[in-house]
Subunit: 366 residues, 2 copies
């Protein structure tokens, strides 16, 4: 086996035990006498796959029974606009917490539709932190407050829900199912699958009864309703299959969720994720050779970002790491430096290998 | 091997030689030391995949050099609205040929945006035919005429381009790459991948310079421009990777196109498709036991639809066919009857097996 330890920010490492199922299922899936990609999305066999994916996600996240789970296409980037279209498309006010690139993009798309106010922005501070409770106010007429629970690029993460009584909408793309979340406190949660849930090309969208009702109200205010593919209500009514969904992507997602249940679920994986991130932050705090980016209270357990005190060493570090079987450690092209993504499928052994390499690197170059 | 002959309308049969590559590539893709689903869409390895997919499609279809090829998410159903948004979002007129369910859906979505006129509809005739040249007129101010080249549900297909000087926009979802098409005569072609190109979750969009220019003009008429994920211009500028695309779907699509080139390309496969459809229509015309749906001049080579003279025999036929290893022959839920989809990856042996079964069935039940 020559697989690397994979620290990619997404698409990212998947459980090997899941990957090993994909070859056989591509040729013959269950008793269908065809591959998983070759059967109709209207077949009983695929119905069972998507229903299982939804059931597993509901169990894992504790999603209330009256919430709807959609598995759509287009990624969080489409949800930036689609969520505003459905929830505030009739001209409502909405407040945002701007904690990085993805928040900023969500704000940009919502501004096309809604009366948007940025309640707090970490931009001037280099997005090193998420806001503290009391660090911002939310307008009384804000229909909801939008936040990005984990910031993949800057390596920061909320460790408590935003301190507000306002309704919450959250982009959980890069930390969904990595730790417990109070789903019932949210009206809408969306997440691209390609970090903790499966391959790219599937987007999980979790809607409260209020969100569905709001979508219906907004739709009624548009002549002819909302565009079909962008209408939460229609997608819910058709159980994510108004048209052909990404069937293979949903199949892999279902297998990843099965794996996660086998691991003991979200509480168990959260414990492991704390341990993994703890090992790496301990190394980053041990020596001034490393310069972690995020402020301690805002550190992400999913994406750890840092610089080397001598920036010229960063390209050497990345080159040697790759050669040592530690892949995809380069920081996002917009910020540079080093980033290790420690999603659910990244094992402790990978973090141990990284920390060992770091110690050795410092001993040789420090 | 217990795989069935697969006549599914989509997701549909894929070449076995492609399917056999997916297991190994899911564990280790090339020299990346990770599976194809686990590498960044910004990696060199994936860049090569998407570039190859575009190059192969350009060669196979003879797409002019100044046309742009996008590989997006959302299916043709999203294109129904997105194409109107980009090309006539500033209130222009557009004419449609209504040849079935998918045309009707395209009309419905475009009506939210454009001044839509249905130039011809086959609805009253049970969608048994596509229009003849001269059977309709197109408005002088129509920005384009939209047609659906093959009608998956009713089993009809255009065998010549619509007879008009107006610009053309076409949904080629169910016959793309099954026969030569004069791409240069079109401003926009779109197609869900799940029939002839690969798995569901990828949509090919082919844009002329006029279409891109039109998208820019329309975008300039919207405050802040078009929503990012729905803006052809931005998708073209970012080469389909404004956000994370369906990387695995694009990988499989690239492998299917490689297979198609190995088969001799579109001209060679068109010859085979003619032969396959010819064998089945010959059987349908041989005996009044079968009642083909489409009028002879409008018959599709991709989806062959028929009834049995005694409708009570249809469920028996479908049941026995499945048991005989001939799967997914049930007509679309909206029309009933029997449908055999004969996409590129369906072999002559499958059609021979079907025709043999039909002869035997008639001899026993006729």
């Amino acid at each position: 086996m020559s697989r690397s330890h994979n620290f990619s920010a997404g698409p990212a490492a998947l459980p090997v035990s899941v990957l090993e199922q994909l070859g056989p299922a591509s040729i013959e899936f269950g008793d269908t006498r065809a591959g998983i990609m070759e059967i109709s999305h209207r077949s009983k066999a695929f119905d069972a796959v998507i229903a299982s994916a939804q059931d597993r996600l509901r169990r894992l996240m504790g999603i209330p029974d009256d919430y709807v789970i959609l598995l759509l296409q287009g990624g969080a980037s489409l949800q930036f606009w689609m969520s505003a279209l459905n929830l505030v498309g009739d001209g409502g006010a909405v407040d945002f917490l701007d904690t990085g690139t993805w928040s900023s993009n969500a704000i940009k798309e919502a501004r096309r539709i809604a009366d948007v106010r940025v309640a707090w922005s970490g931009k001037e501070g280099g997005y090193r932190a998420v806001p503290h409770a009391g660090g911002y106010t939310v307008r009384d007429n804000a229909r909801y407050l939008h936040y990005t629970s984990n910031n993949t690029i800057y390596g920061t993460q909320f460790h408590a829900l935003p301190a507000t009584d306002t309704r919450l909408v959250a982009d959980l793309s890069s930390d969904i199912c990595s730790r417990p979340v109070d789903v019932a406190r949210h009206e809408l949660i969306y997440a691209g699958a390609q970090k903790n849930l499966g391959p790219s090309g599937v987007t999980a969208v979790i809607l409260s009864p209020w969100a569905l009702e709001q979508s219906a109200v907004v739709g009624a205010s548009h002549p002819g309703g909302l565009p079909s593919m962008l209408d939460y209500g229609l997608m819910a009514k058709k159980d994510s299959m108004f048209n052909t969904p990404n069937t293979f992507g949903i199949f892999v997602l279902e297998r990843v969720l099965a794996w996660l249940e086998d691991q003991g679920g979200v509480h168990a994986i959260a414990h492991l994720n704390e341990r993994k991130a703890g090992m790496l932050y301990e190394e980053l705090d041990r020596s001034a050779f490393w310069q972690p980016h995020a402020e301690p209270m805002s550190r992400s357990q999913m994406n750890v970002t840092w610089r080397i005190h001598d920036p010229a060493l960063e390209s050497v570090f990345l080159h040697e790491a790759t050669a040592a079987g530690l892949m995809a450690l380069k920081g996002h092209r917009s910020v540079g430096g080093i980033r290790a993504s420690l999603y659910n499928a990244v094992g402790c052994d990978s973090v141990e290998a990284l920390v060992g390499f770091m110690k050795d690197f410092e001993s040789r170059k420090g």
